[in-house]
């Protein structure tokens, strides 16, 4: 397949963000995924969120594993470095990258095969480690690049394109993330930009490990009548719990939500997180409640979307390890090498 490169001309109606960039500056290479792939919508949502946050694109580090989803970091934020690593191992590479330089915003993109099968161990452990990053799973319930095998997130009874039902229980990454202690857990749908973009913005600004499971239909292998990850199924079975709107400290945006359904939360950095409560009884700060809610809905075949849990005073791995404010990769010999005098004392301790 060949593509015509996008022309780099500035359309007069393109809006500039606060740092003088337009949405074009947050785009990447042209996608090589199938037309209509949910993953492309996720990439577009990430680009839009970063543009709206007005963070320079080169201050992001994009890391992925292997699979259709893991190709996508090429398709957004072209001015930032990306690392397409090995299958299921994005979490460890992201951990190392974040340890080396905490000043960069780390975005990890993975898929359901990448995170729920081959990389399920690494997924569990990056949650534990509190790496400050946005971890997105483009979840389509299928192995696209190898042509349509079931993945571990596929619901029991969901059928393949050929009509064969899946006989095994699904792994729900949202439940895992909640249970292991992620400080920001959300689920969304690739086709719902209204919900997804604010979630991504909030996740990027969240200090701690932020996880978004995005149901993202595979138009080739998992978008038929028997699939529970199809556009149609998800649209019919979605129950949105909490919408998130992140308002930067210097922004004066009024959100027109009916009184009583809007919950404003002050973020530690001065920004305000506005949560729209669709269900009055839902409390996004209750980890156990969230877990319950997600699993109850799942039993009924419903997909709960929105911000399911957030811990606003979360800490990250750098706080745990007490690393310096200066990134480790910027420390010089003077910072790192104890020198010959200290070595004299070290030698003496071995005599």
């Amino acid at each position: 397949m060949t593509f015509v490169a996008k022309p780099k001309v500035h359309h007069p109606l393109l809006q500039f963000n606060e740092i003088g960039l337009t949405r074009r500056d947050y785009e990447g290479a042209v996608s090589t995924l199938c037309a209509g792939c949910g993953h492309d919508s996720v990439s577009a949502a990430v680009a839009m969120a970063c543009n709206e946050l007005a963070i320079p694109p080169h201050r992001f580090a994009k890391i992925s594993g292997i699979g259709c989803s893991s190709k996508t970091p090429s398709y957004f934020l072209g001015a930032s470095h990306g690392f397409n690593s090995v299958h299921g191992r994005m979490p460890s590479v992201a951990t190392g990258a974040n340890l080396a330089n905490h000043e960069l915003h780390c975005i990890g993109v993975s898929g359901d095969g990448d995170s729920a099968s081959i990389g399920v161990g690494q997924f569990a452990h990056i949650v534990r480690r509190k790496v400050n990053m946005l971890y997105i799973v483009d979840n389509n319930g299928t192995y696209g690049l190898t042509k349509g095998q079931f993945s571990a997130t596929n619901d029991r009874g969901s059928t393949s394109k050929r009509g064969v039902p899946n006989l095994y229980s699904p792994i729900d990454l949202v439940s895992m993330a909640l249970q292991i202690g992620a400080s920001f857990v959300a689920r969304s749908f690739s086709g719902d930009k209204q919900q997804l973009v604010p979630l991504i913005k909030a996740a990027i600004m969240h200090k701690g490990f932020a996880f978004i499971d995005v149901i993202s239909p595979c138009v080739m292998f998992n978008n038929h009548n028997g699939s529970t990850k199809s556009y149609q199924y998800v649209r019919e079975h979605t129950a949105s719990m909490v919408d998130a709107q992140l308002v930067m400290p210097h922004e004066q945006i009024e959100i027109e939500y009916a009184p009583g359904t809007l919950k404003e939360v002050d973020m530690p950095d001065g920004s305000v997180l506005r949560l729209r409560k669709i269900s009055e009884s839902y409390d996004p700060h209750d980890r156990v409640g969230a877990l319950n809610h997600v699993q109850r809905a799942q039993e009924q075949g419903d997909v709960i979307t929105g911000l399911l849990y957030v811990d606003l005073i979360a800490s990250d791995i750098h706080e745990v390890l007490e690393t310096p404010s200066k990134p480790l990769n910027k420390l010089s010999e003077a910072d790192l090498c104890p020198g010959s005098e200290a070595l004299t004392a070290v030698n003496a301790s071995f005599r």
């Binding site: 080169h58 340890l99 007490e322």
Partner: protein, 607 residues
């Protein structure tokens, strides 16, 4: 006739009985008397209850290799008593607990039995069962101070230092020492004809194990990230890094830690973290052993192909599979050199002393940054976990880290074209940029898939081959960067090649062969890929021996393969029993080769 500072003593104990501390104190006491010593802990893969041995080679001649003949046996384990008695040389001394009389299994009349009623002595002095167990070890230490004429004040000072802050432990320990000492002086012939005396041989040297020295090398070499997974015999390296970094790398004013240690979920993740950090410009390492290397091969392939600096310490143990986790071997050479699928190869370093563990560890970070590839430091259990007399560690304060080819924002502004994998200097190494460097220039996509010189994905045959060829050209550059072999040549007919811990018994081995009329030139391999001096040495010798601690002659295979040699050009001497190789073994093999092939010796030796 009395001999001084020349013997092997072996302690046979039960694992978990507290013997390690007493035995360690014994070795350190001799070192503090200025005597060259090497210790070896021969332990089971077990925490409590199985047999364990501790061996100390005391050698004014500085022969530090293992010697199979034991001069003094401290037999404290009933289970292995028979075997322990059997391992004594004729005329050797057997120290044993005689509380229950002489063991009928002590059936040899060519050894000197030295019975000490250790349990009985303890029983009357200590009531706490735990203390009774622990102080048995201290009592035999006291006995040995008399038998071997060890400076008693050295030991009592060590006890005082060791239990500083836990003063209530000092007095009972010293009491137990004195009990043993006075029993020996009253009832035994002291000192023995083999004994110790103060020596001046040590100079400024230190008593240290390779893992601790390597950990210090990582700190001095600027490593800020250590990601690891516990595995014997590498664990103590990560722990030593933490111990020393907590002293040397904590800012006294801010208490900030200028390092990060992650105990990962497995070895895959450990190397993944190292690679993520290396990609983002921090110096990072992992310490592991053979089974970990097996798991890391996937990431090693990625780092080779994507060209990311990483440092790995492989503290080798006996394989295959779980093998003998607490025994030593050099059996990961091929697995490390060619780790991962596809056409891959990795530079290896072979330290042979703790001092070299320190130097090579620090240098490995420069090599990794310069060559933009993983560097594997191939130590082993014998070197990593056993304290031995070593040159003191040294650091040149004028030294600057070589961070390799990394462009900053100004460099990028002054460049017309940036291609991550463009070979502009002809050394096969491209320039890299770190994430976040420049708002619009120098970003690229790192991947394990094939790409062109500008880091764009490609399946074009020419672009793919060109990239693979450039990696070979980088391999040639590696030969000029890595340490060359150490050669001692007097243009003799025969030469011997060794590396890592097969170097330890070599001085003794050469002296023994010399007495047999066989003189050998020597070559110690310090790195892979091999420099031109290696081929030259092999070409210049009619007979070439290669000493290794593995079954399959892995270094020989690597050499014959890489240097296009005839396999018959190298005679292998292979020991793979899991103990460290001894000079006797090598000498026997060389002699047998000479005899079998009727090779004349330099001088006639009467047999």
């Amino acid at each position: 006739m009395t001999s001084y500072n020349d013997f092997v003593i072996r302690f046979a104990n039960v694992n978990g009985s507290g013997s390690a501390s007493a035995n360690g104190m014994f070795a350190k006491a001799l070192f503090r008397m200025g005597i060259p010593v090497a210790s070896r802990n021969i332990f089971p893969s077990n925490i409590q209850g199985l047999p364990t041995w501790f061996e100390v080679r005391v050698s004014e001649e500085e022969y530090f290799g293992r010697r199979s003949e034991v001069d003094i046996m401290v037999a404290m384990n009933a289970e292995t008593f028979e075997q322990d008695v059997a391992s004594l040389r004729s005329g050797g001394y057997l120290v044993y607990d005689s509380t229950k009389g002489r063991d009928p299994k002590l059936a040899r009349d060519d050894v000197v039995p030295i019975g000490v009623p250790i349990s009985r002595l303890i029983l009357s002095e200590f009531t706490d069962p735990k203390q009774r167990q622990l102080f048995k070890n201290i009592v035999y230490l006291g006995v040995l101070t008399s038998l071997l004429n060890i400076d008693f004040s050295v030991i009592t000072n060590m006890v005082s230092t060791q239990y500083k802050g836990k003063d209530e432990l000092i007095q009972p320990n010293i009491h137990a020492l004195e009990m043993g000492r006075s029993y020996a002086q009253s009832y035994l012939d002291c000192p023995l004809p083999i004994q110790v005396r103060h020596s001046e041989r040590l100079g400024g040297r230190i008593f240290i194990d390779g893992n601790e020295a390597a950990a210090l090398g990582a700190i001095y070499g600027g490593a800020t990230i250590c990601a690891w997974y516990p595995i014997t015999p590498s664990t103590s390296m990560a722990e030593a890094y933490e111990k020393h970094a907590s002293k040397l790398r904590v800012d006294p004013d801010t208490t900030e830690h200028k390092f990060a240690i992650i105990q990962a979920e497995d070895e895959l993740a450990a190397l993944g973290i190292v690679i993520g950090a290396g990609w983002n410009g921090a110096r990072a390492f992992t310490a592991t052993s053979g089974p970990g290397i097996s798991l890391m091969t996937e990431f090693l392939g990625l780092a080779y192909f994507a060209e990311i600096p990483a440092v790995l310490f492989d503290i080798q143990r006996a394989g295959p599979s779980t093998g003998m986790p607490t025994r030593t071997q050099q059996a990961d050479i091929l697995a490390a050199a060619y780790a991962s699928h596809g056409d891959t190869k990795h530079p290896l370093l072979f330290p042979s002393t703790p001092r070299e563990c320190f130097d090579f560890a620090a240098n490995a970070f420069d090599f990794a940054d310069r060559l933009q590839t993983p560097i594997l430091v191939m130590s082993d259990l014998d070197l990593g976990m056993n304290e031995i007399t070593s040159e003191a560690l040294e650091w040149d304060d004028h030294r600057k880290y070589d961070r390799g080819k990394v462009l900053d924002a100004d460099d990028l502004d002054n460049m017309e074209v940036f291609g991550r994998y463009l070979d502009v200097d002809g050394d096969g190494i491209g320039y890299r940029t770190l994430p976040g460097t420049h708002p619009s220039k120098g970003s690229f996509f790192t991947r394990g898939t094939s790409r062109d010189e500008y880091a764009t994905y490609t399946e074009d045959p020419d672009a793919y081959s060109k990239n693979m060829d450039r990696l070979l050209s980088k391999w040639e550059t590696a030969k000029t960067v890595l340490p060359s072999a150490v050669i001692r040549s007097e243009e003799r007919r025969a030469g011997i090649i060794y590396y890592g811990t097969t170097s330890t018994p070599m001085s003794e081995c050469l002296d023994m062969l010399d007495e047999q009329g066989i003189e050998l030139d020597t070559m110690r391999i310090r790195a892979f890929p091999f420099g031109p001096e290696v081929v030259e040495f092999i070409d210049n010798h009619e007979i070439v021996f290669m000493v290794e601690q593995n079954r399959d002659a892995q270094m020989k295979m690597l050499m014959t393969n890489e240097l296009d040699l005839l396999p018959s050009s190298i005679q292998s001497i292979l020991y793979y029993g899991g103990m460290s190789i001894s000079a006797d073994f090598i000498v026997d093999e060389v002699l047998s080769y000479y005899q079998t092939n009727n090779i004349p010796r330099i001088k006639v030796v009467s047999t």
